[in-house]
C-alpha cells in the first residue's frame, strides 16, 4: 500500500519542475534496445566449450575458480572432492556454522565470469553471503556470451512472475579495496568462489579459446 500524504504534492512538484501542465500528453518512449558491449566473435558464442573456457578465464581474473564435469551426475562427486581436499566441515543446514554453501546458477555470463543466482526462500536468503566458501553449480546450457536480455531471461521471468527473495549477479569472491585501494578478498562475504559447470567433456577443457 501507499501512504498518500505527500504523494500528490510530490508528484505535482516533479511535474511542475519538468514544466508540465496537468492533463498534458507526455512524449512517447523513444527507447531502443541493446548496445554492443563485448569483443566476442560469432564463432565463440555458439560453442558451449569455448564459452566455458572464456568463463573460466574471466572468473580466474577476479580470483574465482571454475571446474568442468562431463555431466550432471558428476556434480555431487565434485563437491565431495572440493570439500575433502579443502578440509571443509560437513554440510550444515545452519548457514551461520557452515563452511560452505552450494548455490544453483540460472545463467552464467562468459564475458565477465558472472553467475546469476536467485534465492526465493527465507532459509536460503543468506546462502550466498555467510559461508567462507561458495560453490555455484550450473549446467553448460546456462552459458551465455554476454550480459543481455537473453542471459538475464531468468531474472526477467522471476520479476514478471512476482517471485519473492533476491536475484544476485555474482562475479568472483567478495572483496574490498577500502584501505589505500589495496585489494583484500573475502571482506564480508565468501573468500572462495568455485563454479562447477556440468556438461563440458574433459577433452574440451583444453580446447583453444
Amino acid at each position: 500500500m501507499t501512504d498518500d500524504s505527500g504523494r500528490a504534492s510530490f508528484l505535482a512538484r516533479v511535474a511542475a519542475a519538468l514544466g508540465r501542465k496537468e492533463g498534458e500528453p507526455r512524449p512517447a518512449a523513444p527507447i531502443q534496445r541493446a548496445v554492443g558491449a563485448s569483443t566476442f566473435d560469432e564463432e565463440t558464442t555458439r560453442d558451449a566449450a569455448a564459452l566455458a573456457i572464456r568463463f573460466r578465464d574471466e572468473l580466474g581474473l577476479v580470483s574465482g575458480e571454475t571446474v568442468f564435469v562431463p555431466d550432471v551426475g558428476g556434480v555431487d562427486a565434485e563437491i565431495e572432492r572440493i570439500v575433502r581436499s579443502r578440509g571443509l566441515g560437513p554440510a550444515e543446514s545452519d548457514l551461520k556454522k557452515a563452511d560452505y554453501a552450494v548455490l544453483r546458477a540460472e545463467a552464467l555470463i562468459a564475458d565477465t565470469g558472472t553467475a546469476l543466482v536467485i534465492e526465493r526462500t527465507a532459509e536460503r536468503r543468506l546462502a550466498p553471503y555467510l559461508p567462507r566458501t561458495c560453490i555455484v553449480v550450473a549446467d553448460s546450457d546456462a552459458l551465455f556470451p554476454t550480459m543481455s536480455s537473453a542471459s538475464l531471461a531468468a531474472l526477467h521471468a522471476a520479476a514478471r512472475r512476482g517471485d519473492k527473495g533476491e536475484a544476485v549477479l555474482i562475479t568472483g569472491p567478495a572483496r574490498t579495496a577500502d584501505i589505500e585501494k589495496t585489494l583484500v578478498l573475502g571482506a564480508h562475504g565468501p573468500r572462495h568462489l568455485i563454479v562447477i559447470i556440468a556438461g563440458i567433456q574433459a577433452a574440451e577443457k583444453d580446447a583453444p579459446s
Binding site: P128, A177, I179, K181, G186
Partner: protein, 455 residues
C-alpha cells in the same frame, strides 16, 4: 547551514606530509584500472546510450516513479514519498519504531549522509551500524566520507591501524587484510541481530519495481537480506525504465568506479519473503530544484561512480573534506548549490580549474564544466559569490582597460603597487591570509611601447 570551500582544511591538507600523497596515488591507480577495463568495449557508444536513457528517464520522472511504485507495491513493498531530508529521516525512524528495531545495519549509501541518518538514529536510541568497510572506518573515526565510492580514501593504512587499536581495543596492525578481517568478525553478529537493514539504491527499475544495489564486499547482501525489515532509501533520480537499460549502466558503473569489468554483487530485490517487510523511501531533498533548472537538470543523470573526483586536479590535491557537504568533487560542486541553496553553497563551483577532465571521464557524458560555469553564473547573479572588494577590483580593471590613458596609468600604478605588495601582509589579516599562498606577478620595468620606441 553555510557551506564554504573549507580553506583551513585545504591548507592543512596541502601541508600535511602524507595525506595528499596517499590520495593522489590512490586516484592515479583508480584511473589506470579504469582505462584498462574500458579498453575492451565500445566505451563511447555505451556512454552515449547511457546519456540518452538518463535523459529520457529524467524527462519522464513523474511517470516512471508512479510505475515503479505500483510494481514495488505488487512485489509486497511499501513506498513513502518524502520532500525533505528531515522528513525522510523521520519516516525512517517511524518504520524502525513500528517494528521495534534497536539497531540498523546499513549498506553504503550517500543519500543516508544527506539525511544525517546516523545522528538521527542515535538520538532516537537506535544504533546505526555502517557495514561497508570504508564507511565503518569513517563511522569509527566520527568523520564523514570523503569520496563517493571510497569513503576512507583520505586515511592511510597506519591511520586505520591506530584507529582500530584505539576504538576496538585490538593489537595494532596496518595490514589491510587483517584490518578487513577484524571488521568482518565484529560485524557478523550485528547483521543477524539488527531489526532493520538499510541500503541505498543504484537503480530503481520502473518496469519491474525492483531495486538494484551494486557492491563488492557482500555487506549489501547481508544488510538487505539478514534483518526482518528492509528499507531502501532512494533519491528519485535513480529510476530507470527497463531491465535492459540496466545492462548498459552495469557495463559503465564498475569500470568507471573501481576499474572492474563487473562489480562482485549486483543485487535485485524481488520482494519480501515469509513475513518480512520491505520499504522504499523516495527522497526529493532538493532534487526537484535541480530538475526545475533546465541546464542543471543534466546533473541528475549522475550514477555516483566517483570518476570525476578521481581525475579532478582540485579534488586530488585537497580531498573530499574540503567541499563541506556530502558530495565532493566536480559533481558535488554542481549539485550542492541547488540542493542546499545558492546562498549557502554558491562558492563551490568556483573550486574548479574548468580543465574538463571530468567531462571526458563521466560515463553518462554529463557536461560538468558547462554545469560548473552555469552554477557560477547563478551564484554571481544571486549575489552569493562576489565581494565588494572583488566588484571594485573588476570595475577598476574595466576602467583601466577601456582607454589608453587609463591603461598607462594602471601600468604605472602596478609598478608602484607591485613593489608595495610585499607590504600586503601588514595591512590586514585578510590580506595576510590572501598573500600567504600567493605571490604578486612582477611588472616589467619597461613597457613594450617604451621598448619599441628606444629600440
Amino acid at each position: 547551514m553555510t557551506i564554504h570551500f573549507d580553506r583551513k582544511q585545504v591548507h592543512d591538507d596541502l601541508h600535511s606530509p602524507s595525506a595528499p600523497a596517499v590520495l593522489d596515488s590512490s586516484m592515479r591507480r583508480a584511473v589506470e584500472h579504469k582505462h584498462a577495463a574500458q579498453a575492451l568495449i565500445a566505451w563511447d557508444e555505451l556512454r552515449e546510450r547511457a546519456h540518452e536513457i538518463k535523459a529520457y528517464a529524467i524527462e519522464h520522472l513523474d511517470e516512471l516513479l508512479v510505475r515503479f511504485e505500483s510494481e514495488f507495491i505488487a512485489r509486497g513493498g511499501r513506498v513513502l514519498w518524502t520532500q525533505t531530508a528531515d522528513e525522510a529521516a523521520s519516516r525512517f525512524l517511524d518504520i524502525c519504531r513500528t517494528h521495534g528495531a534497536r539497531s540498523v545495519v546499513k549498506g553504503k549509501s550517500m543519500v543516508s549522509e544527506e539525511l544525517e541518518l546516523n545522528a538521527r538514529l542515535t538520538a532516537a536510541g537506535i544504533d546505526p551500524v555502517e557495514t561497508d568497510l570504508g564507511e565503518y572506518i569513517v563511522q569509527l573515526a566520527g568523520e564523514r566520507p570523503t569520496h563517493i565510492i571510497a569513503p576512507a580514501i583520505h586515511m592511510s593504512r597506519q591511520d586505520v591501524g591506530s584507529l582500530f587499536e584505539r576504538k576496538l581495543k585490538v593489537d595494532y596492525t596496518d595490514d589491510p587484510e587483517v584490518l578487513s578481517e577484524i571488521a568482518r568478525v565484529r560485524l557478523r553478529q550485528r547483521y543477524l541481530d539488527a531489526g532493520v537493514g538499510m541500503t541505498g539504491a543504484n537503480f530503481g527499475i520502473a518496469e519491474t519495481g525492483t531495486v538494484v544495489v551494486v557492491e563488492n564486499e557482500g555487506n549489501g547482501g547481508l544488510s538487505s537480506q539478514a534483518p526482518p525489515v528492509q528499507i531502501v532509501v532512494m533519491g528519485i533520480e535513480k529510476v530507470i525504465p527497463t531491465l535492459d537499460d540496466l545492462i548498459v549502466f552495469l557495463q559503465l558503473l564498475a569500470r568507471s568506479g573501481t576499474g572492474q569489468k563487473m562489480s562482485t554483487y549486483v543485487h535485485h530485490f524481488l520482494g519480501p519473503v515469509d513475513g518480512r517487510a520491505m520499504y522504499c523511501i523516495f527522497v526529493d531533498a532538493g532534487r526537484t530544484a535541480l530538475l526545475a533548472d533546465p541546464v542543471a537538470r543534466e546533473s541528475l543523470y549522475c550514477i555516483r561512480c566517483g570518476a570525476c573526483l578521481n581525475v579532478c586536479p582540485i579534488y586530488r590535491r585537497v580531498g573530499g573534506g574540503a567541499y563541506g557537504w556530502v558530495y565532493p568533487g566536480p559533481i558535488g560542486s554542481v549539485i550542492t548549490p541547488s540542493m542546499v541553496g545558492v546562498e549557502d553553497a554558491g562558492e563551490l563551483p568556483f573550486a574548479s580549474t574548468l580543465c574538463g577532465a571530468c567531462a571526458v571521464e563521466c560515463p553518462v557524458k554529463i557536461d560538468l564544466p558547462h554545469l560548473l560555469v552555469h552554477q557560477r553564473a547563478r551564484a554571481v547573479d544571486e549575489g552569493a559569490a562576489s565581494s565588494p572588494f572583488e566588484n571594485a577590483a573588476v570595475a577598476s580593471w574595466t576602467r583601466a582597460m577601456s582607454s589608453s590613458r587609463g591603461y598607462s596609468f594602471a601600468v604605472l600604478a602596478a609598478r608602484v603597487g607591485g613593489a608595495a605588495s610585499s607590504m600586503l601582509p601588514w595591512i590586514s589579516p585578510a590580506a595576510r591570509a590572501w598573500s600567504k599562498e600567493r605571490s604578486m606577478p612582477k611588472v616589467a620595468s619597461m613597457t613594450f611601447k617604451d621598448w619599441w620606441r628606444e629600440r
